[in-house]
Amino acid sequence: MLRNFVRQRFFVVLVLLAVMLVFFTLTQERFLTPENMSAVMTSSSILWVASLGLTFVMLAGGFDLSIGSMLALCGIGLGWFVNEAGLPLFVAIIFTILLGAGLGALVNGVPIGKYGLSFLVVTLGSLILFRGLTNLWSGTKTQQVISPFLDELAFGSTLGVPNPIIVMVVTFLIMLYVQKYTFFGRDVYAVGGNAEAARLSGIRTSRTLIAVYGLSAGLAAVAAVLQDARIGAASPQVGDNLVFAAAAAVLLGGTSFSGGIGGVGGTVVGVLFLGVLQNGLSVGGVESYWQQIITGVILIAAIALDLVQRRRTERSKSLRTPAAQPAVPAS
């Protein structure tokens, strides 16, 4: 059990996170306070939710560049549903999430899953497309979204727990369940691990991919609700750097670009790592570019370390079975 946990690909990052927590606690008086820890969490909430969706895309062997634009588009959408359409907030949120999931499945999922287009090309296109739609819809203007419920969502708390943290934990638990305890979750691993074997097993891999891109966009829409709630407005300018931070969090969390390996458990470790690093450095008054430099170095180092470790296990495996290859040498 413990050995398996140590073998997890995000273990190194988890240790670094612990080291960082100890270091900041010892060096910054104001670091380990309930207020500050809660701030670390709530300020990570948008990244957290969006990264969970991106994790599934990467598990399936793909990538979604468009999540930042989708966040902005759905944020504008929520503002429109509330202000212009005059929908009750609860209905507006449901519509926003459906809008995101539907667009993601249709614009990203269908070309990639059904017609086999390159995910980089398709999501690069939709990144630009969604940004354009956002500006068209909003007239490039930020509009206030006033709702007591949104205020409560961003800044209130339930039973002493800040509401954004509840949203984070609930989405994480749902995604963890889907990943581990549904056929859909296992299909995602199978498609990412060996798409041909999945297809030959009768799994409808195109549906799996469409669903994955819909899910990623749907979670970007959930993040958009949190975004609007935090700033009390629908802004077309948000989300520009979201995809980079999310990719860093997912990769730090041990999900591989090649698909089939990793999971949402690692991703939340990656998000917390980025959140603690940012908070600890800013509490300590360190310039924010140091955060970028450290994040970049650790991301590359963590992945290099993982590669070294895997090469080592591969080598020891090939030493164990020297005759495995040509049992019948081809003539």
């Binding site: 199978a190 019948v328 081809a330 003539s331």
Partner: protein
Amino acid sequence: MSNALQAGGPALPVLQATGVMKSYGGVQALKGVDFSLFGGEVHALCGENGSGKSTMLKILSAQIAPDSGSLAMNGHSVAMKNPVDSLAAGIAMVTQERTLVNELSVGENVLLGPRKPRSVWGIDWRATRKKAREALDVLNCDADVDDLVQDLPPGQAQLVEIARAITDDTKVLILDEPTSSLSAHEVDSLFRAMRSLRNRGVATVFISHRTQEVFEISDRLTVLRDGRLVSTGVVADYSPTRLVSDMLGRELSAFVPPPEYQTAQGAVLTVEGMSVRGKFTDVSLGVGKGEIVGIAGLVGAGHSEVLETLFGLHQREAGRVLINGEQVALGDPPAAIKAGIGFVPGDRKIGGLVLDMSVLENAVMARTSTTARWARPRSASSVAFVEQCVEDFSIVTESLDTPVVRLSGGNQQKVLIAKWLGTNPSILLLDEPTRGVDVGAKAEIYRILLAQRDAGLSIVISSSEAPELLALCDRIIVMHAGRVAGMLHKHEADEAAIFRLAMGHE
């Protein structure tokens, strides 16, 4: 025939190998083989699958090092460590795998890399085109140097490969199964190119599985069997019968005419006149309940593709498939699974298993592929099924949750077979069911398949290993060059009969 050598010939072979030994792990592929090649000859290297032919070619071109033995060129011993050394020594090799860059022009492919002529402005494209044209002319290849390689038919592409391999200094050309993917017409133009090189004094050694071709093009031939030299000599000393008996190591039995194809009575699976463009033509077969039918063939004969088509992986252009007398469409794998077909693909690492996933998940992947996707996968019935398989098939694994990548090849293959038995198929298709599996696991897989047959499962096995088919099958269909060459019943089938049909003997 040969213009450089007859009785005696030139004193020194351009390339000579002496006492070459090579083993892979525990398998000895070459057990001390002598081989000599003279300038201006075309030399065929013949032998069954596993006789050591390819290993020999790889040693001659320094792709692999022999365990012992030596190479000499024109009487001087040479030590070549890698293909770069062997190229420098004038030995060119064209492998079975295509190595052209599809997106570049024919001319640039011929002179790929640093061989392109240069001027002060950089690459001299006019000279490049001219030089490529000359190289192609030597081979009587009329492909336009400005065309993209992806637009070439396979025969022309093959000639471009050869044009790239050879230079003015090439003394030896090595071709590994150059005709396996070519049509009859394309083989003719390849042979014209080989003759043209022969006239320029180049020595060519090649492998072919088609007897007819060996006799058409070669001056001399060498037969290997089980890693040993059986015979070598001028083609005139061989007859097709002697060649085949040298390859097999015994006399051929009297030729058995292929019996007329008949739909088996009460056939579970009936295939009528099935064709797939570019793969195989007019294939018919029937499989009864509790019967194992084998499909034999040499590499590229189309036997694997027949199975893949029955599982919905290729578009049929003609023919129909009936299961229990009812026509089925079989458009994609889910449709085939629904029709009661299971398919164990030839390469378990590509189409078979998701290596990073567990034994349990791989084993239930096919049987649960139609379940609602939001359902929980680890149901009690799934676990019970896999536990039963692990016990029945003696699959060695730490637990059901162990990733299959940690299992041995034989155990992986058993998981793959369990995966398909789990769908309760009425027909199980297996492509090379024991590839890369040790002897013990092989016997166990045979036992599993025979037990399933006795329980009423209809099984079709495609294999390039004749002994495997002989051990398992009630009937064997032999394919040659995309067509059914004949059918053998268990009592009349032996290795020689299969081999003869597979080689395309009339």
